[in-house]
Amino acid sequence: MNNETLIPKIGVVTDIRVDTPDIKTFRVVGLDGKKVFEHIPGQCAMLSIPGVGEAMFSITSSPTLEEYMEFSIKKCGCLTSWLHAMDVGQQITIRGPYGNGFPVDTDFKGKDLLFVAGGVGLAPLHSVINYCRAKRENYGHIRIVYGSRSKDDLLDYQEILNEWMADPNIEVNLTIDREQEGWDGHVGFVPNFVKELNPDVGMTVVLCGPPVMIKFTLAGLKELGFKETQVYTTMELRMKCGVGKCGRCNIGNKYVCKDGPVFRFDQLDELPNEY
């Protein structure tokens, strides 16, 4: 059954972490206690609860993490509600990895990297960020700009505080949308915050978040002098097969599951605006 793309494998949920009021992070291993498969940062997997449904999720953990995979999942529909209702020890099904992933070992190598994320948009970037941290010598300056609705909605907040902000080799800038008690950091929306921070225009940008945040952040970056060829994003569309056949995630002549989900903005310019 090894090359059967539509027949999944069994995954065991070994840990469930409550990240925010609507995001939980699930730790998954195979029946043998090991990772179900290897992946590259930015790739995705099809997770399912049989009888409920199957959907594509970005693999949140870095491939450099050898013991397990993690998925940070926001409760927003039918399957995700079921996933959120699970207990540790529950078996799910998993297949993948799907998609192209970020060019971490090619285009990103030797570059200064600017990660810009909004809300649950940090989930797919989390994998890249920790991969780059693990292979720190391969990259130049690393800067992370992350914002959410409130302090409680910041994904991976403990890890950001204890590891990323404690790491002298990376720069982390956080913001939340509105003033909040117990928050003395920046307040304001991500697009404006990026402009205020005025990052070096030589940086390669990885951008992910809600569509409106992406739109205004990209416009702001362009104002600062960034070109579309420098900015990468990762997309999500409805998917069923994961291998470019079922037709659902088709945009122009591309399939997001197979040709994406990672695109550069200059590549998206050549496609219809149907996402």
């Binding site: 449904g53 039918c78 099904t93 291998v243 079922c246 037709g247 088709n250």
Partner: protein, 339 residues
């Protein structure tokens, strides 16, 4: 070339069906469709079946995988048993070509093993057309209705059936039938082909071409303001996608049988509003966008990824079945003016 009298065609069917399942186009209450041959089932004279022959390799529904669930544990079961060999007899030139288009979807890496298994087990015997209809435009895509592809090809005249093998699979089938047939020259076939070509040359869609469409005009065609009037009356019924021999979008869903879960695949349609619906929204909210997706895929996206080959074989089913009489010919002719 081998030949057999039409009066003995049931013997021919019996000989094929002795070893493998045989499907022929037959009349089903006025609706021609492929049916499993059993003694006495006659082949229809109708030009083509209402539904295409894609079901044989890409069935409307099929079980992909089953799950047995106990407490928190899941057991995964591959429900497939070995597929039997089968022959599809009397497939028209357009429908035969559709399989080389579906192959470009299902047999590219990673291969769809469900489709691949059926392709391996199936032998296609095509039937040349002698009376193409006014809705036919297979020649637009370089298909010769009088000389179809397929593992073996047949020509039916007033009194005889002529057959010739094109592939090894076809040879193997003919080897079995040889004792009951007679060797012959191709004069009768040539004469019929000549007549068919004459009819083809006079068909109303004889000059229809899609050659202005390719990947280079992607955004130009997509952004045309003609889509609004073209799609205005579309009901989103999806009939065009279901009768189309090259439409292959599918859905995967789970069904709780009460003693386990069956995950099945079924045909789906980009014309449906929930096709791209996600918890976070829908990238194609209007029927215009969904209508545009279908024709863009056939005329622009598919050729852009497949050496210029269009996702259409000119079978004409959508021309005769669309309840609002919209179809790929009207769409291409209208948009062509923009290029």
């Amino acid at each position: 070339m081998l030949k057999i009298s039409l009066s003995k065609i049931q013997d021919l069917f019996a000989a094929i069906a002795a070893d493998e399942a045989l499907y022929i186009p037959a009349d089903n209450a006025g609706q021609p469709q492929f049916m499993r041959w059993q003694e006495g089932l006659a082949m229809t004279d109708a030009l083509n079946t209402v539904r295409s022959a894609k079901d044989f390799f890409f069935p409307q529904t099929e079980n992909l995988v089953s799950f047995k669930i106990q407490g928190k544990s899941i057991e995964i079961v591959d429900p497939r048993t070995e597929t039997e060999d089968f022959v599809v007899f009397g497939v028209r030139a357009c429908d035969v070509r559709s399989f080389s288009i579906l192959d470009r979807v299902f047999l590219v890496d990673p291969k769809d093993t469900y489709y691949e298994n059926r392709r391996k087990h199936g032998t296609l015997v095509s039937m040349a057309c002698s009376r193409p209809a006014e809705t036919c435009f297979c020649h637009t895509f370089g298909i010769d209705a009088a000389e179809p592809e397929g593992d073996a090809v047949c020509w039916k005249t007033e009194d005889s059936l002529y057959i010739r093998a094109n592939t090894e699979k076809g040879e193997k089938l003919l080897e079995k039938l040889r004792p009951m047939m007679e060797e012959c020259g191709d004069e009768a076939v040539k004469a019929q082909q000549e007549k068919t070509h004459e009819i083809l040359g006079k068909l109303p869609l004889n000059n229809f071409t899609t050659e202005k469409f390719d990947g280079d005009v992607l955004l130009k065609v997509f952004n045309s303001d003609k889509w609004k009037s073209l799609s205005e009356a579309c009901l989103g019924c999806g009939t065009c996608t279901f009768v189309c021999p090259t439409c292959q979008c599918y859905d995967i869903r789970d069904f709780d049988t009460g003693h386990g879960v069956q995950r099945f695949r079924c045909w789906d349609s980009c014309m449906y509003s929930d096709f791209t619906l996600m918890a976070s929204g829908n990238p194609r909210t209007s029927q215009l966008e969904r209508f545009r997706q279908r024709f863009m895929h056939k005329l622009v996206y598919f050729p852009a990824n497949n050496d210029g080959i269009y996702g259409c074989v000119g079978c004409g089913r959508c021309l005769s079945k669309c309840p609002i009489s919209m179809n790929i010919v009207k769409v291409a002719k209208c948009l062509e003016g923009e290029l």
